[in-house]
Amino acid sequence: MMSLLLRDLKLSVRAGGGALIGVLFFMTVVAVIPFGVGPDLNLLSRIGPAIVWIGALLAALLGLDRLFQTERDDGSLDLILMQEHPLVLTVLVKCVAHWVANSLPLVVASPLLGLFMNMSEVAIGAVAVTLLVGTPALTFIGAVGAAVAVSLPRGGLLVSILVLPLAIPVLIFGVSASYAAVEDPAPFMPPFLILLAITMFFAVLGPLGAALALRNASD
Amino acid sequence: MSHGFYIALSYAISALIVAVMLGRIWLDGRARQRELAELEASGIRRRSSAAGKGELA
């Protein structure tokens, strides 16, 4: 399992430059919004957490749809399916590798973007923490889509549509926890704990669903 | 606008959607049955042999 993690990390560093494209896209998104909203710094800092979260969601989508497709194309998927390691675990490890290569850099870059958006220190910290806790859920949800994409002779976007709606709760609680950290009346912990719960829920459901789809897709 | 307008429109839209749904399913069923009948008519010789054996099982 460790070897699979290492291989996937190596691959994403060698082949995709995955991390960088995600971060750059993320930065582009964040760079463009101020043009839309105008130079109103107050407003910017108000919508900052939301924008950073939306950017993270979109950046996580890039490349996620090919999580299993490259494996199928060169025949590795067959061998992976045949092994006795529980398939759920294999999927989980692949998700973790993808998260480390693609989403973790976003979490690390988010404070920088927070500064661009004129967010307060507390807000910046809250966004980074909620991203750290919430983005894995996005990866797990996407994995189900990627697994379904493999079974289609022609995968692709179709999958993101099926899966993206499931990401909405993650976004809602991530954003509301970040706001709660800044605005006094609302407490930070409840939405944050719900976010944590969602991530744990999808950490189980995602790999299970993906494994189920992969088993039924093989031909 | 009067409330009556919204009520009428919502009932009309619902009726339209239900009608389209019903019509599509109905017509689809007619087409399928026609196809089955055509196959039955054209392929009796071929099918009867296969089906005869099958029914024994």
Binding site: P153, L162, P165, A213 | R32, L36, R46, K53
Partner: protein, 252 residues
């Protein structure tokens, strides 16, 4: 060889054949019952009093609420069928959730449209992005996605299995729709009929609402049975065409 092939084909269809016979006998009764319920429901919904708060527009409720319920129930039926597909590999289950997807989309569309039409006079806007409305919109998108998925794959049994997985994963949306009004405080009405401590709604509205709800439910089952029969016929036609083509090529 030919013989063994024919045997599998027909043992596969043995069950569907029974289903076709049975549903053929039930359908006329179901259709009549639906029509009667609709007649009664429509009569009641136009003769009862208006609400003092909402005025005449409360009549929209008699369509809106049953359609909204049905949009969720249809998904639940699909989820049950999906379990049937994955666990028992029952061919009827495949047919069932494939046939239900367009129906679910239609009921969701009705709920969305009537909700918007109710929202304009009540809230002053056609659409807001609140939790209830958006989660229903998401449900609509998921129905469309499942329809597209079924179209994109040409091996029906594989399509059934893959979409079954997706249906089950997407089922998390249903509790979100149901409880969204309680988890987030929004513009939308909280549940007043289906709740643990009994309905809080005035019986004046409750009776027509329930009659309409039953009418919609029977409409759904009628249409679902019809669509399932169509789908079975469609599969029979392709199977027999294939067999005919195979025989023809063998004779040559």
């Amino acid at each position: 060889m030919t013989q063994s092939l024919a045997i599998t084909k027909f043992s596969d269809l043995a069950n569907p054949t029974y289903f076709l016979n049975l549903s053929g006998r039930i359908l006329p009764w179901l259709g009549c019952l639906t029509a009667v319920l609709f007649a009664a429901g429509l009569y009641l919904s136009f003769t009862t009093e208006g609400d003092y708060q909402q005025g005449e527009t409360v009549r929209i409720m008699y369509v809106h609420v049953p359609a909204a319920w049905l949009s969720m129930m249809c998904y639940s039926v699909m989820a049950l069928s999906a379990i049937g597909t994955l666990v028992w590999r029952h061919p009827l289950a495949d047919v069932s959730h494939k046939a239900a997807a367009p129906l679910g989309a239609a009921f969701t569309l009705i709920a969305l449209a009537t909700g918007s039409l109710w929202g304009k006079p009540m809230w002053g806007t056609w659409w807001v992005w609140d939790a209830r409305l958006t989660s229903v919109f998401v449900l609509f998108l998921m129905y469309l996605g499942l329809i597209a998925l079924n179209r994109a794959m040409d091996d029906p049994s594989k399509a059934a299995r893959v979409s079954a997985v997706l249906i089950l994963v997407g089922f998390v949306n249903i509790p979100i729709i149901k409880f969204s009004v309680e988890w987030w405080n929004t513009l939308h009405q909280p549940a007043s009929v289906v709740r643990l401590d009994g309905p809080t709604i005035d019986p004046e509205f409750l009776i027509p609402l329930l009659v309409m709800a039953f009418a919609f439910t029977f409409l759904f089952f009628t249409l679902h049975l019809m669509a399932m029969r169509n789908e079975i016929w469609r599969r029979r036609v392709t199977a027999q065409r294939r067999m005919a083509a195979r025989m023809a090529s063998r004779e040559n």
